[in-house]
């Protein structure tokens, strides 16, 4: 190797070269686009789920309750507070943030003599505009946590690299072509591996539990499924929900809407996982090991064996009361038995849940119509408390011209499910945009396929609401469209057109201008000149239901108080304005679904227990 004494002097050439130093802070250097600097948090999209706090390796993040914010389903009023005396700027919180509201910016200057200033609640330029400055007003020499640059996002969440799995494990379904032909259950259900994989997606933020009306311990039962212990899971479910087979199929899944994963990805299939737990466990009785509490000697009558009735019976039975459940139908389930078509909720699943509740010692009086077979007044005398869970059992009608030619939804559904199936037409028009309307439509479609195999048939729906406004769930709409049901949103029925012989020819519709008025009340307005004639030989009205209180004698009925929205008014114990009469379910709440009915039932059951123990003063 040639060493030299003189060669080093070549370096002199740099004596007069331009230095490569960056004259910071007089010459600035922008940090990289992905720089992991200080946090910002979009308070609008932040759900306060606390995943960031959970994953932080340094416990630098604490969830702080913000009094100004209101908690709502799927959103708590907590927001992360970050301690820069702990933070290591690893960005794990960014990658786990389900809404992607937490971001790292490219700001990184905070120099202060007071260590307390290093703890702060990150907000962003919209929430705290006074702390964020546009580029021309921003100076690094003033930069700190209260002098930051606007629109300076650095390391942000990327779904492709997120720590959570945004996509669901696909639920195996019967393909539309096949399921259209019969009433088989089209959701096949997860198998063990799929269920575990899906359960593994849960981040355990418990936002869903807040959103669930019945406050099921969702995280816990999903964790049990993840650990391959469906029995444990079912036990957890039964703490709050005695009808998992039903709920696992037809629950409105408020939890999934609240699921933090749903913000940028697909919500966790909480409903299907519940169904998995209920379906996997073969024997409820031995698995759950539940026993009625010590007998109290009190008797409670429950009118209606729907979700509310079943639940209240279950909870009361567990407290040791004797319960008798009355229902006009031949089996349990109430609306669940008549409404949801068999392809969504087979009778066997309902019976499974009902049978388990029966096995706890609840007496069921089916085929017994209160007011006819048993008198309500007698029940009031015979029982220590009465629970009304009668639900909405009557269909509304549009009352347009010739409406009497139409079929009512509930009658159609009930007969198809537990009675003799209808003879349907070839061109069916369904009026309505809710879930019931879609059930009707899809059921009609199946009947068409059964009754006119190979022939050209069609099912059309007409709804006042436009896409997006439709009350039916997205999932239902998607499935219905897969099955080739034609939608005509934003059209209102004007007249049922009949021919000379009185047979239905079709439906005349008007274009809808708006469905709700300025106050947000339901008050449809129409374009009078835009009309459409829709051909059809059968029209089914599915625009809503209403309750039937005819079993209550008039003098009692007059004592019942109702809310503005025509609901039974109950107190915090679930008691109506009549002493010892409690109520729950569709006749009380506005959600009108099974899980809210369970929630009502839970309140009422506790109320009844307290009432029977003589704790509460009557209303």
């Amino acid at each position: 190797m040639s060493q030299s004494v003189l060669k080093p002097f070549k370096a002199i050439k740099y004596l007069f070269a331009k230095p490569k130093t960056l004259r910071y802070p007089f010459e600035l250097k922008e940090p990289a686009m992905r720089y992991r600097g200080f946090h910002v948090n979009d308070w609008e999209t932040c759900t306060g789920c606390g995943n960031c706090a959970d994953i932080c390796p340094n416990q630098a993040i604490e969830m702080i309750e913000i009094p100004e914010l209101v908690s709502e389903p799927g959103k708590t009023n907590k927001r992360p507070r970050i301690d820069y005396g702990r933070c290591c700027f690893c960005g794990l919180c960014i990658d786990i943030c389900p809404p992607g509201s937490l971001k790292l910016t490219r700001d990184y200057f905070h120099i202060h003599f007071d260590p307390d200033t290093f703890v702060f609640v990150p907000k962003n330029e919209h929430t705290e505009p006074e702390k964020y400055f546009p580029t021309n007003e921003y100076s690094v020499l003033k930069a700190s946590l209260s002098h930051r640059r606007k629109d300076y996002d650095g390391f942000v969440s990327d779904l492709k690299y997120s720590l959570f799995e945004p996509e669901r494990v696909p639920m195996p379904v019967v393909p539309p072509e096949e399921r259209m032909l019969s009433f088989i259950e089209h959701i096949i259900g997860y198998d063990r591996e799929e269920a575990r994989k899906e359960a593994a997606r849960c981040l355990e933020c418990r936002l869903c539990e807040e959103a669930c009306p019945a406050h099921l311990k969702i995280s816990d039962y999903i964790h049990a499924i993840f650990e391959d212990k469906p029995e444990e899971s079912l036990k957890k479910i039964y703490e709050d929900n005695p009808i998992p087979s039903i709920c696992g199929r037809v629950c409105m899944a408020h939890c999934e809407k609240a699921c933090s994963l749903s913000i940028r990805g697909e919500a966790l299939s909480i409903r299907w996982l519940k169904r998995y737990a209920a379906d996997t466990v073969k024997d409820f009785k031995t698995t759950l090991e539940l026993n009625p509490g010590p007998a109290t000697g009190r008797k409670v009558a429950v009118i209606g064996a729907g979700p509310a009735g079943l639940s209240v019976a279950y909870f009361l039975r567990l407290s040791g009361h004797k319960v008798g459940v009355y229902d006009a139908l031949a089996g349990g389930g109430g609306t669940m038995r008549t409404g949801p078509p068999a392809y969504r909720l087979p009778l066997e699943s309902i019976d499974r849940d009902v049978d388990y509740i029966r096995s706890l010692g609840v007496e069921f009086f089916f085929n017994t119509r209160v007011g006819k077979d048993v008198l309500f007044e007698d029940m009031l005398k015979e029982y220590d408390a009465v629970f009304l869970g009668t639900g909405y059992t009557r269909s509304r009608s549009t009352q347009v011209k010739n409406y009497e030619k139409c079929v009512l939804a509930l009658a159609f559904l009930t007969d198809n499910k537990i009675g003799k199936p209808w003879k349907v037409g070839r061109q069916i028009i369904v009026i309505g945009g809710g879930n019931v309307a879609l059930d009707v439509a899809r059921e009609a479609l199946r009947l068409q396929h059964i009754q006119y195999p190979g022939e050209k048939t069609a099912v059309k729906t007409v709804s006042l609401e436009d896409w997006g406004e439709m009350p039916a769930t997205e999932e239902e709409i998607r499935e219905a469209r897969e099955e080739n049901i034609q939608f005509h949103p934003a059209w209102g029925p004007k007249e049922v057109v009949v021919d000379e012989s009185g047979k239905i020819k079709g439906l005349l519709c008007r274009k809808v201008k708006s469905v709700f008025n300025e106050q947000g009340r339901f008050a449809p307005a129409f374009h009078e000149n835009k009309e459409m004639f829709m051909e059809g030989d059968m029209i089914i009205e599915a625009i809503g239901q209403y309750p039937d209180f005819s079993f209550i004698p008039e003098e009692l009925f007059n004592k019942l108080k109702f809310t503005q929205r025509k609901k039974l008014s109950v107190d915090e114990n679930g008691m109506t304005s009549i002493a010892k009469v409690f109520a729950g379910g569709d006749i009380v709440n506005t959600n009108m679904d099974a899980v809210t009915a369970i929630a009502d039932a839970k309140i009422a059951a506790q109320g009844i227990s307290r009432y029977l123990a003589g704790e509460t003063v009557t209303a």
């Binding site: 130093t21 260590p115 690094v140």
Partner: protein, 201 residues
């Protein structure tokens, strides 16, 4: 390009005559080269070609006697704390301490380690903290400009605080390190403190 005149008043002769001490301290910050923690990794870039802290008169020096700026670069283990205190006490006054990154503020990454102290300001006074893990060279430069401001305003008085509360500092130090092998730096103050405590207690 930001105007140079904004922060640099190095060539302001008037100021030099008014308070030569402050001006001297400001533009001749000699940092003690002590690799206390991982933050030291950003010091070499700071003092070498890319950023060149010498432009601001900031250079690393070999011994605490020659230094007036102490950069606590990152976490401080118990064993290091002893040397930090020693070095700090050897530095001539006025002296400035700057804590680097999360760790000295509240434990940082090592908040649950059994061998690192969590709050540096319990043991020696700290005049400024820089956020980051670890702070970038740019942040060090901005920190220097902030320190100038503090010196100007007479707020970088950690060393005075150390004198004032020496007994408390010494007590905290001894709680962690046991009996210290060197005599107290300000014995009088300690006595004063003790007598004051006696009166109070």
């Amino acid at each position: 390009m930001t105007k140079k005149s904004g922060k640099m008043d190095r060539n302001n002769i008037g100021k030099w005559f008014k308070s030569p001490g402050n001006m001297g301290q400001k533009y001749s910050l000699h940092a003690l080269y002590f690799c206390t923690g991982c933050g030291i990794i950003e010091i070499p870039p700071t003092i070498t070609t890319r950023w060149d802290a010498e432009r601001f008169g900031v250079i690393p020096v070999a011994t605490p006697r020659q230094a007036n700026l102490f950069l606590i670069t990152g976490y401080v283990s118990v064993k290091t704390l002893r040397y930090i205190i020693r070095s700090y006490e050897q530095m001539p006054e006025p002296k400035y301490t700057v804590g680097f990154g999360s760790c000295p503020i509240n434990g940082g990454m090592y908040w649950d380690s059994y061998n690192t102290i969590k709050h540096l300001d319990k043991y020696i006074p700290v005049d400024g903290w820089i956020a980051g893990c670890m702070p970038r060279p740019e942040a060090v430069f901005v920190a220097v400009t902030h320190l100038w401001t503090l010196i100007d305003k007479g707020m970088a008085t950690g060393y005075l605080k150390y004198r004032e509360h020496y007994a408390k500092y010494r007590r905290n130090q001894e709680k962690i390190l046991g009996e210290l092998e060197w005599p107290p730096l300000f014995s009088k103050e300690e006595e004063n403190e003790k007598s004051r405590e006696k009166v109070a207690g």
